[in-house]
């Protein structure tokens, strides 16, 4: 997928000083990148390889690839997208060696319901077919960002299937755009949206359960 101009890391962009610092072998710049991305990179690697230690190896290889490639980085994509591409390329070859199926290639087409069917009236309801039978109720504004709520959501996120966790982590926790995620993880916009939808639906349900308890 071609990078869009507004995501590229050109010399005039905010990210460029970090690129320059890395090129001049500045350890703090590298440490900052590691701090920012290592955990998610590890989570992504786990989608491809069999265990945690294999994932750690792949992530380390990817960081070495970043260092070796930084002098040739042309800024046609964002720096973080480029880092993730290096990781997914390495993780992919490893997964192929291990003969594992690549993630995102075939998303299970299970129609996992975002809310329970019983929340709606039946199709043959004489008056209000398919309307909410138990409509959602607004959440108390003052509790939405309360610490307890945030903890509930964190727990819900940690229980998501791994691929959903990665997508919602990049999109909603770290604030990446859909385009960046698709490029970084070499996935189609449709698959990205399906995973995001499942993840957000489950997290909404968890918060609703919490607020209604």
């Amino acid at each position: 997928m071609p990078a869009r101009a507004d995501q590229a890391t050109r010399p005039e962009s905010k990210e460029w000083p970090l690129v320059e610092a890395l090129r001049s072998r500045d350890e703090r710049a590298f440490a900052e990148l590691v701090e920012r991305h290592n955990r998610t990179l590890l989570r992504v690697a786990r989608l491809y390889v069999r265990d945690r230690s294999a994932a750690e190896e792949v992530v380390q290889e990817a960081w070495l690839g970043v260092l070796e490639g930084i002098d040739r980085f042309e800024g046609r994509s964002s720096l973080r997208t480029w880092i993730y591409r290096i990781l997914t390329n390495r993780a992919q070859s490893r997964a192929q060696r291990e003969r594992r199926q690549l993630p995102f290639s075939a998303l299970a087409d299970d129609h996992e319901a975002a809310v329970k069917e019983t929340r709606f009236r039946p199709t043959d309801d004489p008056r209000f077919p398919l309307l909410w039978s138990v409509p959602p109720r607004s959440w108390p504004v003052e509790r939405i960002l309360a610490r307890e709520t945030v903890q509930q959501l964190r727990a819900a996120l940690e229980h998501l299937p791994a691929a959903q966790q990665v997508i919602v982590g990049l999109r909603d926790v770290e604030g990446w755009t859909a385009e960046e995620v698709c490029e970084a993880l070499a996935m189609t916009p449709g698959n990205q949206r399906v995973l995001l939808h499942r993840a957000r639906s489950r997290m909404r349900q968890a918060l609703e359960d919490y607020f209604e308890a």
Partner: protein, 92 residues
Amino acid sequence: MKLIRIRRKGSRSDDLSCPELVRLVTDYLEGAMSKTDRRRFDAHLDACDGCGTYLEQMRDTVTVAGVLAEDSVDPVARDALLTAFRKWKAAP
């Protein structure tokens, strides 16, 4: 073609149902809908409080997710990477 499904009074065959709206909510928030579907979605929202609240809850969920901070990096992993960095730096 005759509609078999019994519909609400005054509803039209291209109206979105509540379960459909729930299924499409991410496409809506992502701006990944045709103009026609977006109009149907908006029309349903105008008429249905339950779905309005559902959409609001999805937005709230995204807001809460936005304040989840990532944990910091495992120190062992970080040290290993910084060691690798120094080796790279020292290489000719």
